[in-house]
Symmetry: C2
Subunit: 522 residues, 2 copies
């Protein structure tokens, strides 16, 4: 076999990514200096990350980045950042009870600590939000480390590659392919002729909303409406709301805060799952683009429909037993808030929690499981199958009905007046199918592997573990519920889930391609 | 709206179907005469069915049957036969404790008895095998009625329409379309230039295997290897093995018989899920057609792979608790038999039971749930998504990976050297997606509706209820397990499931088409 992929070029670029990643670690270092804890951890992490990045940059190839090199680079960048991102967890936890700290007592302990750290790091960058931290508290972990954990989600949210395209001029040529491989949806919407400018706009909108979110959260504190929402918490939750991340330095997640905070977070979660290009159109006064956007209509329609259904059931008590999981029967505000929050947080893959829905009735949980398959919009930070794909496959399936009656009439699939190319229809079908297939096989695999070590999952737990990781959602049901953890899973299952998180974040195909022979040969 | 579908012609043909159906009722009448029970029931049923058939035949239209009329006819024929097929259940149960007997005590009782009878009848003809008979015993039901129940599955197995095409010369013109609408797979394999001859061959192979199965079952009895397998039981189980039906006049299903019977039934279940065209090739000595058939390879491969996995786990006790559900730990024959039987019976949608797998560990049940999505082969009597479709979608999904690396190379999807037409790929994707979508929405709907009446299903029960009905399988897990029943579901859920059984048997699209406006207008 002759390898025709110029992998050196891809590896060198990963070095550049790591170099910039080292710079962003200034944020947790600053927190460490403020709270006087883990300062050395972050100094060493910055040094190690920067050194590794600079070393890799020296592995040099040609200047031109072909399609194969672009695909390889994107996957390597995500794997590389996740791997190097374990350093702060490993160092900070040395000699403590931390489940993600480097343990050198035995080879088994070492293996578990490495797998746990990689799980937490991958869960962060992929904006999944599944955790293996045994105990989330400032007694166990420093303010700096927990802020670093929040930061990983913010960096992963709009896409590491999108950020690189925005700032590195040498990536401009293949920028569109790179961003497609990192994939915020089936097709990139070019806002400007220059792809680097589009990338810059997306990141600016993203950063802008983050600043507004942090500002408003802190305003609530300042107005006396949210005593717990100090500056640290405002920044921490701003960092994980816009990327549909869901990590929180509070064990209680958003349930730790007042209803005012919960209400404020809801619209920002909705924004995080909206196509960011739409905000650009709003800024330019092209409102009609927003209201004519079929995906936006579908996204909002799904949220409203499901939330209203759930509200009715929470309010009447059909879904939860009385006073369970934070729901108070017959209180309109409480049940509306819980219904809406759980709908948006699971639908677009955020995963924040305000209610222990594991205590709701089984069928309400089956409904929420269904919601987890929807996903955010194209061009948003939301994961999952995504609304646009559902619209395309539903339209294409409907077209099949017409074809059955009129076999000779060739009818294109249309969306909002636009004809969808047959290649796109085909690739959307292939993606959706592969995604559901990997989900199904993984659910069985997770159940099997857990049972091997005596952990007997319920069907709901097994299914939700699979969709919550490949869908980059985070919480599932039962053991891995909104206030639960993935710590109890065996290391093999955790590695399986790490792969699922990468597959989900990069939208399956760019990762799978690397495992085909035709990728490496000519 | 102007109706342009010549529905009169379709209705008249349904009359012809009912006329022939009345003739087949001679079988249970004969049983009634032998056992001197329910003779009047079947005399009246025959008279009523024949009268209805003759009356409908007089609703006449034009002679030509267009595509729309063909589609309408197929669905109407299945709905009609299922509806008229309730007559024996309703009449035989008058004044008894039967759950499917006509009850006139109150409007509610009447409604429930009608829904139950329609459920049992539909479950029979569609070869689903889900039951709402409260108690399956000869004390509660006559030998004739329970044999009638078996007969409905045999009639439905190879397809009522295929049978009609085989025997009615006037259906020859549109025979291929009719059979496609009844759909034993994505594409009908024409064995002979004349479609009526192909239909005749399929039915002859089907009838031949049924006779052989009955003969061998009774031989076991005659050899003293199966004391319970008398002639009645041999015929009854022959009637429901080849159509992948799964009904049994024994409450214990196949578990009521010796291991010898269980071993004998396994190959016949495998045959029932095989493309019947392959047996025609074997008869003509074209063995190479069989061994080169990719679907056959996939079908056998899936059975062997899953059965071996399950065997290992049953044998070591990883799956079931000791001595539960008919499995004895550490006995190779017992665990192999149970693993193989459960695999084939659920994989190709038969639904016979030899073990209460509801008592196996949760993950083993999740594995079996996965098996239920596979289905039989094209041109077999098996239901579900079917092996050929899985092969096409997997190949097409794999093609997508190549397309990602080489966007300019247009590569066709191949199966066993043959190029699959893009239209077929598209329709297979549309079917698979619609099927999974209806399955998912129905699982939530079933859970919701059951919870409305205080029946709280587990996730596994809800998911299995949906796949077991749309997949025409029959048993699921828990409440509706292999020795359970669908009786406890509310009438609305039963009607939902009746629709799912029709959708599954006719492979979704021909039924859904009738609900589109373009079908009825021009
Ligand atoms: K996410
Ligand atoms: K079946």
């Amino acid at each position: 076999m002759q390898v025709n992929v110029n992998w050196r070029q891809s590896v060198a670029l990963v070095g550049t990514v790591l170099k910039y990643f080292a710079v962003t670690l200034a944020v947790p270092l600053f927190v460490a200096l403020v709270y006087r804890d883990d300062i050395l951890v972050f100094l060493v992490s910055i040094a190690a990350t920067a050194a590794l990045g600079l070393a890799l940059e020296r592995v040099d190839g040609d200047a031109e980045l072909g399609l194969e090199e672009a695909l390889l680079f994107v996957t390597l960048a995500w794997v590389g950042v996740s791997a190097v991102g374990t350093i702060p967890y490993l160092l900070a936890g040395v000699g403590t009870q931390s489940t993600v700290g480097l343990a050198l007592d035995s080879p088994t302990a070492l293996l578990h600590s490495l797998v746990n750290a990689l799980f937490e790091s991958t869960s962060g960058f992929t904006t999944t939000g599944a955790t293996v931290l045994g105990e989330i508290s400032f007694e166990r972990h420093s303010h700096a480390l927990l802020m670093y954990r929040q930061l990983t989600q913010w960096l992963g949210g709009m896409g590491i590659i999108v950020l690189m395209v925005a700032i590195l001029p040498e990536l401009a040529v293949n920028g569109a392919q790179l961003i497609d491989a990192e994939a915020p949806g089936p097709e990139l919407q070019k806002l400007t002729p220059k792809i680097s400018e589009t990338a810059r706009i997306l990141w600016l909108v993203y950063a802008g909303f983050t600043v507004v979110c942090i500002g408003l959260l802190y305003s609530l504190h300042w107005l006396g409406l949210a005593p717990e929402m100090n500056l640290y918490n405002a920044v921490a939750h701003g960092f994980t709301t816009l990327p549909t991340g869901g990590f929180s330095p509070q064990a209680e997640s958003i349930a730790a805060f007042t209803p005012a905070v919960q209400w404020l977070v809801i619209p920002f979660i909705v924004v995080a799952g909206t196509n960011f290009a739409l905000f650009y159109f709003v800024l330019r006064g092209q409102y009609v683009e927003v209201f004519r956007n079929r995906e936006f209509q579908g996204y909002i329609g799904a949220i409203v429909g499901i939330a209203v259904l759930l509200w009715g059931l929470l309010f009447t008590g059909a879904a939860p037993p009385l006073e369970l999981g934070g729901v108070t029967l017959g209180v309109p505000e409480n049940s509306l808030r819980q219904a809406l929050f759980q709908t948006v947080t699971l639908l677009n893959s955020t995963g924040f929690a305000t209610s222990d829905f594991a205590q709701w009735s089984e069928w309400a949980q089956v409904l929420l499981l269904g919601v987890m398959f929807i996903g955010g919009s194209a061009g948003s930070t939301g994961g999952g199958i995504k609304v646009i794909r559902w619209l395309v496959v539903l339209k294409a399936a409907r077209r099949q009905l017409s074809t059955t009656v009129y076999p000779d009439v060739v009818e294109p699939v249309r969306l909002g007046g636009r004809v969808i190319d047959e290649d796109v229809v085909r690739s959307v079908f292939a993606f959706t199918f592969l995604y559901l297939f990997i989900f199904g096989v993984s659910a069985v695999g997770i159940a099997l592997d857990a049972s091997r070590v005596g952990l007997d999952l319920t069907t709901l737990e097994a299914l939700s573990a699979s969709i919550a990781t490949i869908g980059n959602i985070g919480p599932g049901f039962g053991l891995l519920g909104p206030f639960g953890s993935y710590l109890a899973f065996p290391a093999t299952t955790k590695l399986h889930m790490i792969l699922l998180m990468w597959l989900g974040r990069l939208e399956v195909i760019p990762v799978l391609v690397l495992f085909t022979r035709s990728f490496w040969e000519w």
